[in-house]
């Protein structure tokens, strides 16, 4: 064990693999020293596991209507109570984790690569391409995201797919900015010149050399943005523009519980706690990741 640790922490790695593993190991150690980041990672991990094995965690069917059990308070039978159609809220939250996870993953999978490519191309090519691409980016950046997403969904029609598209459309510009800033610092490095001298095309340089180097800062940003994506999706669901019933989407569940908020408080509040916990998990993790990869402490000499 001690020798593996030494091998990982060596000052003079013998191979590229060793260097890479060593770097990851050191980052992991730094991350583990931050209790909030560990908590965040555990929450995110729990979300993924619960979403994948939802039938295993659920105690009831999330869809079966049982009117005799409607609006039951939390009890041994119904851990978090039941909703107005007698469905078990805990089970619905468990299956709702799938929807949340799908939305988050899809938005990240669309917006992050799109933004990164726009930013990298813009930064690498410079000149007119840069001005036009960044002009468009700035226009999107200077507009209210939630309102735009609302307007897009209003136009496209409600539903998960359209919610994902609307959120992705409004969130790519941030990644474009970051990727462009990274590209500008990399662009004039020796190894890029070397690659160019070997006859590599612009496309090849961007894909093989620039995009991999932008990825870590974009990943941090995506992690930090996850909370925002979850909140926007929940907001759309709350307004009835996201996932449609009977899907157990957390925002939509809050919206349905709104009518009973005064007497059956659990119907609306429980899904909210789920949202807060998951968003907070992503925030903690993203914050920790940023501290590790961008150590700007104020008390150095």
């Amino acid at each position: 064990m001690a020798t593996t640790r030494e091998w990982l922490l060596t000052e003079s790695p013998a191979s590229r693999l060793q260097a890479r593993l060593g770097r990851s190991y050191r980052m992991l150690l730094a991350l583990l020293r931050n209790p909030l980041a560990v908590l965040g990672a555990m929450i995110v991990l729990a979300l993924v596991i619960i979403a994948i094995f939802a039938p295993f965690f659920a105690t009831h069917s999330p869809y079966t209507v049982e009117l005799t059990d409607r609006l039951q308070p939390p009890s041994k039978e119904f851990w978090l109570g039941t909703d107005e159609l007698g469905r078990d809220i805990w089970s619905r939250l468990v299956f709702g984790a799938r929807i949340t996870l799908i939305i988050v993953v899809l938005v990240a999978a669309i917006a992050a690569p799109l933004g990164t490519i726009v930013g990298a191309v813009s930064g690498y090519l410079g000149g007119w391409a840069d001005r036009i691409l960044m002009g468009i980016t700035d226009i999107f950046l200077s507009m209210p995201k939630l309102i735009l997403a609302l307007a897009f969904v209003a136009a496209l029609g409600p539903g998960i797919e359209n919610a994902v598209i609307a959120i992705a459309i409004t969130s790519w510009p941030a990644y474009a900015r970051i990727a462009r800033a990274e590209t500008l610092t990399i662009r004039n490095c020796e190894f890029i010149f070397a690659a160019r001298l070997q006859g590599a095309s612009a496309a090849r340089i961007i894909v093989r050399h620039i995009l991999p180097l932008c990825s870590s800062s974009v990943i941090i940003r995506v992690t930090l943005d996850m909370a925002g994506i979850i909140l926007t999706a929940a907001g759309l669901g709350f307004l009835g523009l996201g996932a449609q019933p009977p899907l157990p989407e957390w925002g939509a569940m809050i919206s349905r519980g709104r009518a009973f908020i005064l007497d059956q408080w659990w119907v609306a509040t429980m899904p909210g706690f789920a949202i807060v916990i998951v968003s907070l998990g992503f925030c903690f993790l993203g914050d920790g990741l940023r501290d590790v990869l961008d150590p700007k402490s104020g008390n150095s000499q």
Partner: protein, 325 residues
């Protein structure tokens, strides 16, 4: 110049959204039983047969001359509707930002001056909570706790029905109008209505402001001139407020501007929960009724205010920083 460009972009986006709508605007007018000839004539009258860019230019012209179209729901020009509801949003967002700045800035400064302490961690968690709580949910919980259970504040709406219409509308801001009219009963009633939604909005801006203040301050506290001040024997309190804080007042203005603009946006959700008769409520109501003119008009106005606030705080930055001249 860039501002004009951004506005044009905003118009292009709303125009584009307007075209994407699966509802055929001609059918909406003539009904789906109209003969082909009538359909064609109406289509021509509405200018929908012209090339897209021509349509866009006439759209820009319409918007610039204040013609946002008619609202299907209210049967009034959208612009009139917006003018009527905007003060309510402005009032709530302004109170929200005042709360956010008054609490967020000191919190950020304290967190930075005790970096790594328990206080710092606590403030960090409060800040991150602001990033993780759905505004509409916090609104509901707030109503449940402070209105229904504790009865500390009044419920949804801007004012009790009993007081409604008692005072003349001067500015549209209920707090200001009631003071102008000298009616303290109305004023306190309005306060008890606005305090909860504004505090919740304030909490969200607080999260962002405290976080940014903290990181600005940490940067400042590492600067050499802060050491200079300590060398001079300046007390720690004065080091923090006079030396470290002063240079960040200007960038903080930008942050406050940004979060103020963010509050206008956040008010959409809060207004829906609190039945607050502002632009957010108007927007969501229009969404439910598929009232596209109203949706686009509200989007346009919120977007424009957003852009203007951004640009103004940018400009202020340049005017106020002695180094930028």
């Amino acid at each position: 110049m860039t501002t004009a460009f951004t506005f044009l972009g905003l118009l292009a986006i709303t125009f584009f959204i307007g075209r994407v709508v699966p509802i055929d605007p001609v059918l909406a007018v003539v009904g789906d039983r109209a003969p082909q000839a009538v359909y064609e004539r109406v289509r021509e009258e509405m200018g929908l047969d012209r090339p897209l860019f021509v349509q866009f230019f006439s759209y820009v012209g319409d918007v610039l001359s204040g013609n946002f179209g008619m609202s299907v729901t209210t049967q009034r020009p959208v612009l009139d509707d917006l003018m009527q509801v905007f003060p309510a949003t402005l009032e709530m967002a302004t109170l929200g930002i005042i709360i956010g700045v008054a609490l967020g800035v000191p919190m950020g400064v304290i967190a930075a001056s005790r970096q790594g302490s328990l206080t710092d961690q606590a403030i960090r968690v409060v800040g991150l909570l602001g990033y993780s709580m759905p505004a509409f949910w916090l609104g509901l919980v707030g109503l449940l706790v402070f209105y229904a259970r504790l009865q500390w504040v009044a419920g949804p709406g801007r004012i009790d029905i009993f007081y409604d219409g008692l005072i003349p509308t001067a500015t549209g801001l209920m707090l200001v109008d009631s003071l102008v009219a000298g009616d303290l009963d109305v004023f306190w009633n309005a306060v008890s209505h606005i305090v909860l939604p504004a505090s919740i909005l304030g909490f969200f801006s607080l999260a962002y402001i405290a976080r940014m203040t903290r990181s600005f301050m940490l940067n400042q506290l590492g600067q050499e001139y802060v050491t200079t001040a300590r060398v001079k024997g300046v007390s720690e309190r004065a080091v923090i407020w006079r030396h470290a804080f002063r240079p960040i007042r200007v960038p903080l203005i930008t942050v406050v501007g940004l979060s103020y603009a963010g509050l206008l946006e956040g008010s959409v959700m809060i207004e829906t929960v609190f039945s607050w008769p502002g632009i957010g409520n108007y927007l969501t109501a229009a969404l439910f009724n598929a009232d596209m003119n109203a949706v686009l008009g509200a989007t346009l106005v919120i977007g424009a205010v957003f852009i203007v606030i951004n640009k103004v705080s940018d400009a202020l930055y340049r005017v106020l920083d002695p180094r930028a001249q």
